[in-house]
Amino acid sequence: MKAIDQSHGKLFMDPDPDHARKFFRKKNRKKMNKVMDLGQAIETFVLDGEYLAIGGFGSNRTPIAACHEIVRQGRKGMGFLGHTSTHDMQVLSAGEVYDRIDISYGVGLEARGLSRCSRAYLESGKVMVTEWTNYALTARLKAASMGIPFMPARTMLGTDTFKKSAAIQAICPFTNTTLALVPALYPDVAVIHVHEADIYGNARFKGIAVADIELAHASKRLIITTERLIRHDEISRDPSMTQIPFLLVDAVCEVPYGAYPGGMPGEYFSDEDHLTDWLDAEKNDETFNAFIKKEIFGCRNHEDYLNLHGGRERMAALRAEECLLHKEFYREDV
C-alpha cells in the first residue's frame, strides 16, 4: 500500500510491533500477589516523561483516585491519551501532568460545559496536540492489541481532523478506495477502574466497556484500581466474567469509590454538585489554586477526599441515585 496523503500531526509513540514484542516477551506473567497501595503503584509504574492512558469514559468508571495521586506526586512531562477524557483530563490539566496529547475528546465535560482549566492549558501553547476521533483512537489501541502496525479506517477522511492527526491515507489494494491508516498505539502505562479484581489482577466490571479491553491489551504496564478485592475462587467459578486477565496486570489497588466524583455502574452515580464546584472554581485562577490545594494536595488519599465530601452518607445518596430509587418511590402509576 502506498501513501497518497500525509497528515501534519506529531506521532508521539512508536507503532512498530516488533519493538513492542520485545517488551512483551519480558513482561512479568507470574501469577503473583500484585496488591499494593495506590501511592506505591503510581510511584512504581507511572513515570515522568512517559505516555499515560486513563480507562473508562471521562466521568464514568474512570480511575479519578489515581488521577489525583498522579497530580499529588507531581508527575510532569507525560504524553496523554485524551480519548473520551473529561473530568480525568481536568484533574491532569490542573497538575500540568502532560505536555503532549493525542486527543479525540477533551476539554469538555459533555452536557455540563467546558473546563476552563483544560481549555486554558491547551490554548497556552504549552501542549503539543495531535487530533483524532473516538473510533480512530479505539482502532489504534486495537491495532496494538493485535500486534499489527496500523488499522485501516473509513473515518477522518476529507477533514482537518485528518490533517492534524498522524494518520496516513492510502489506496486499498482490494477495493481501490481511499482509506485512513491509523498507527498502533502502545501506551507506556494505563490505569483502569473496575468493580472486582482478585490479588493477581483478574478483573471484571459491569456496564459498558468503552475501549478498556483494547487499552488493557495494548498498554505496556497496567494498574487496576478496584472497588473491591475478591477471592480468586470467585473469579475461577465463572471465568467467562473476567474481562482483564492477570497476565496484563502489574498492580492491583483496592480503592472504594475510586471513580468518585464520577459514577460507577450499579454502584454510585456521579456527584453532579461536586463536578459543578470544579467548573465554578476554575473561573478564577486564585480560587482554583486554593480549590486544588484543598481537594488534592490537602488530602493524603482518596478516603480523605471522600470524607471531605460527605463520606458514607453522601455515597449512599449517590447509590440511591444510580439505582434510580427515586423513580421507584414515585412510580404510583404501576
Partner: protein
Amino acid sequence: MKTYNHMEMMIIAAARELENGSTAAVGTGAPCAAAMLAQKTHAPDLIILFEAGGISPRLVDMPISVGDSRTFHQASKAGTMGDVMDACARGTVDYTFLGGAQIDRYGNLNSTMIGRDHKKPKVRFPGSGGANDFASLCWRTMVMTVQDKRRFVEKLDFITTPGWLDGGNSREQSGLPRGTGPYRIITHMAVMDFEPVSKRMRVISLHPGYSFDDVQEECGFELLRSEIILDTPKPGVSELEILRKEVDPRGYLIGR
C-alpha cells in the same frame, strides 16, 4: 403569544424526523432529548445507540454523559465503543444527530477550535469525539443547532466533521462511504436539506412565525430555497406535554 420556546420547537421538529424502527446514534443534550421524545411518541421502536457502548436502551432519565448508566438502562447490550462504531461502519446505523460550534453551507462542522493557529488556538473546544466517525459512517447525518449568524459561517476555522466537504461529489471522492452524508439541519427557525447536485444548504420548511428572510438574516452564507417551502406544523399539545413532563422534567434543556 407562543406557548412554546425555541428549544422546544427545535427538539420537536428533530424528533419528527426519526422513523419508527430505525437506528440512531446520538449524543447527550438536545439530540438525546429528540430521540427520547421520538421514542415516547411516534417511534416506540426507535433503536438508540450511544458511542460509549450503550445499545438500544430504554431512556427513562436524561443521560448527562454518553457513557453514564442511563445510556444502557434496560438496554439490549452494554457493549464497547468498537461495537457501536463498527455497526456504523458496517452500514447498520440509519441516523446520527450532532451539534457543533460552527457549520458551513455544505454541512461541515467545527467542534475543535476558533482561531487560525492550531498550536495556539483562540478558543479550544472538545474536538471530534465520535462526531467525525458518526458523520462519516452513518447513512444520514442530522444536525441540531440554534439559527445564529455566528454559527452558520462562510468558512469554518477547522473542519472537524465532514459534511458534503467542498460540495458536488467531493465527499464520495474523499473515500467516505458511498450514500452517506448530511440530511437535515434543524434549527429553532427552520428545517434545511441539501440541493442534490451542488450539495448546498437549502430551506425546506419554516417553523411558525419565521420567514425565509428571518432565517437568511441569521445565516452567514447564502441559503438556497426549496421549490416548495413547507410550514412546519406547530408543536402539538401532547408533544409538548411529553417533552416537559417525561423527557426533560428538570428543564435542563428546555429551561422550564
